[in-house]
């Protein structure tokens, strides 16, 4: 009896949470797949026809937005690596006893709502706002110069919003490096540059991978930045999905596009997960 209980215990512990995830996370994905294969319209309702036309139509109509999302996601992720790596490096190796203070400062943005932060940028960058207003009145930039409604504004906003998610895993990986390994490299007459390129950089790669995983997905699928900072000509696939689902209520098209986005992202994630092992990724994600 007691042995049976011991073997059942983990399943009893898992049961309620797993049930919740099954009903509200796993099953909805299947439901969405079935929705994407339906035909019909808002007025007459939709019926399951096992028809792929929503995918064909959706992708052919919105391929610009799909490609733009991938490009914006990729660029903002690269910018985050370039901006974030030196920060993670400095805190990990030179942060000393104040490491946690620096990490806390990096996490401050998360204490303000994502939407509010983005709107604050819109406000700061607006055509005659805090940044451009003074610059224009001093004649440093032309009167018709603008930052909002450009792809740079959207990519910058995405890079800003997800940067801490990039820095933290990189920091975790760098912080784990045993200083004795670096000493060993120097004892073996490696120059500082060689030590960095052949010891520090390879050891930091799992952190970079985890950071990419945590930032590329939300950046590529975001619609808040494009909508607040990008105007009408820089819409991403997220904007289309949101619009089709919530405004037009064209569920098959919206579902097909969500599924396409998910498939594209999954391919990337599984490539990373395979290279790393999911256990590692989860561990880094938990920190």
């Amino acid at each position: 009896m007691s042995r049976l209980r011991a073997s059942l215990t983990p399943y009893l512990l898992l049961f309620p949470g797993t049930l919740w995830l099954a009903i509200f996370f796993v099953i909805p994905t299947v439901v969405m797949l079935s929705l994407s294969l339906q035909s019909g319209d808002v007025v007459n309702g939709y019926a399951f026809t096992f028809n792929w036309h929503s995918y064909v139509d959706g992708i052919s109509t919105y391929h610009d937005q799909i490609i733009r999302s991938l490009v914006y996601g990729l660029f903002s992720t690269l910018i985050q690596i370039v901006i974030g790596f030196p920060v993670a490096y400095w805190i990990a190796f030179k942060g000393g006893s104040r490491k946690s203070v620096y990490l806390f400062l990096l996490l401050l943005p998360f204490l303000v709502s994502f939407v509010l932060r983005t709107i604050s940028w819109q406000f700061f960058l607006s055509d005659n706002g805090m940044l451009l207003g003074p610059l224009k009145s001093m004649g440093l930039v032309p009167q018709d110069f603008h930052i909002l409604a450009t792809s740079a504004a959207v990519i910058g906003g995405l890079a800003y919003n997800f940067l801490p998610f990039m820095i933290l895993p990189m920091y975790v990986a760098l912080e784990r490096i045993d200083p004795r390994v670096l000493e060993a490299a120097q004892d073996l007459y490696a120059s500082k540059v060689q030590t960095f390129l052949r010891v520090v950089l390879p050891l930091s790669l799992p952190g970079v991978f985890a950071g990419v995983l945590m930032t590329f997905v939300p950046a590529t699928s975001d619609y808040v930045n494009a909508s607040v900072l990008g105007g009408t000509s820089n819409t991403m696939i997220g904007n289309v999905i949101q619009n089709q689902f919530l405004i037009n209520q064209d569920y098959p098209t919206a579902s097909a596009l969500s599924f396409t986005l998910m498939a594209l992202l999954l391919v990337g994630i599984f490539a990373y997960a395979r290279a790393l092992g999911t256990e590692d990724v989860l561990e880094v994600a938990a920190r």
Binding site: L14, P16, L21, F24, P28, V31, L105
Partner: protein, 263 residues
């Protein structure tokens, strides 16, 4: 050596610049909560005032949205806190068939794009004709928070020594007593951290809420809706107060941890 020193200093300045960049929009938000604006647009500096702190709750819809957000966050914290902790405990403490699959589902839930989660949950609700509103938001928030709580608690459980529990059992404690007196106090910091994470994720969530809210409005949704007509200073003040509360909790937490480490 000199070059190294310079480079170290350069990186330090650089780090502070990045931190400044991260904090800049927050500073702007806080500043314009003190702006003595009169029109509908709170966009140009008109002078310092504290009046918006006094008129904080004068916009009824906004106040209701904030109350909704807080209620949803507390419910999410409680439900996801318990369900996620149980999963974390199971995964951190026991070896069993299916643990790999469970880890995979949680990994998928953590790394899944929010818009895909929101859209698929809406697909379910639409298909079953479930009316959208307060409770569908709570359901969705619990759904995306569970895995984060579980991973946090699992990390804590894995660092603990199970011999204390074995000792309690050897001394004749029932499983429930062992759990109550040994396991729970040991994993509690993880449970607390996970629950607070769930609260923070919930109160900030926009995307999944946007899909599953129906007519119910939360704080981020209200701000989103007000973007086109202008954000009133009350939003800045509420944002500032939430920010300040977050900083206070984090600092208090750090101080307690430090005192404990020194003791």
């Amino acid at each position: 050596m000199r070059g190294g020193l310079l480079r170290g200093r350069g990186l330090q300045i650089y780090t502070w610049l990045v931190i400044a960049w991260l904090v800049l929009p927050i500073a702007v938000m806080i500043l314009f909560g003190f702006n003595d604006t009169h029109g509908r647009f709170n966009t140009t500096w008109q002078g310092f005032t504290l009046k918006w702190y006094g008129k904080l709750f004068e916009i009824d819809d906004l106040t209701r949205a904030l109350v909704n957000s807080l209620l949803i966050a507390v419910l999410t914290m409680l439900v996801a806190g318990v369900l996620g902790s149980l999963i974390g405990l199971a995964l951190g403490r026991y070896r069993f068939r299916g643990a790999g699959a469970m880890n995979l589902v949680m990994f998928a839930a953590i790394s899944c794009a929010e818009i895909v989660m929101g859209a698929s949950l809406l697909s379910l609700f639409v298909t079953l004709a479930v009316p959208l509103g307060f409770w569908t938001i709570v359901i969705s928030h619990v759904m995306f928070s569970i895995s984060f709580v579980a991973v946090t608690v699992r990390a804590r459980v894995m660092t603990l020594d199970s011999s204390l529990e074995e000792a309690a059992r050897d001394l004749g404690a029932s499983p429930w007593t062992t759990f109550r007196l040994i396991t729970l106090p040991m994993i509690f910091p993880g449970v607390l951290a996970g629950s607070m994470l769930a609260f923070a994720l919930s109160i900030d969530d926009f995307v999944i809420t946007n899909f599953n809210s129906g007519g119910t409005v939360t704080f981020p949704l209200w701000i989103w809706g007000a973007t086109r007509v202008g954000i009133p200073p009350q939003v800045n003040v509420m944002g500032t107060l939430i920010f300040a509360a977050g900083v206070l909790i984090a600092v208090a937490n750090a101080l307690v941890a430090r005192r404990r480490a020194n003791a």
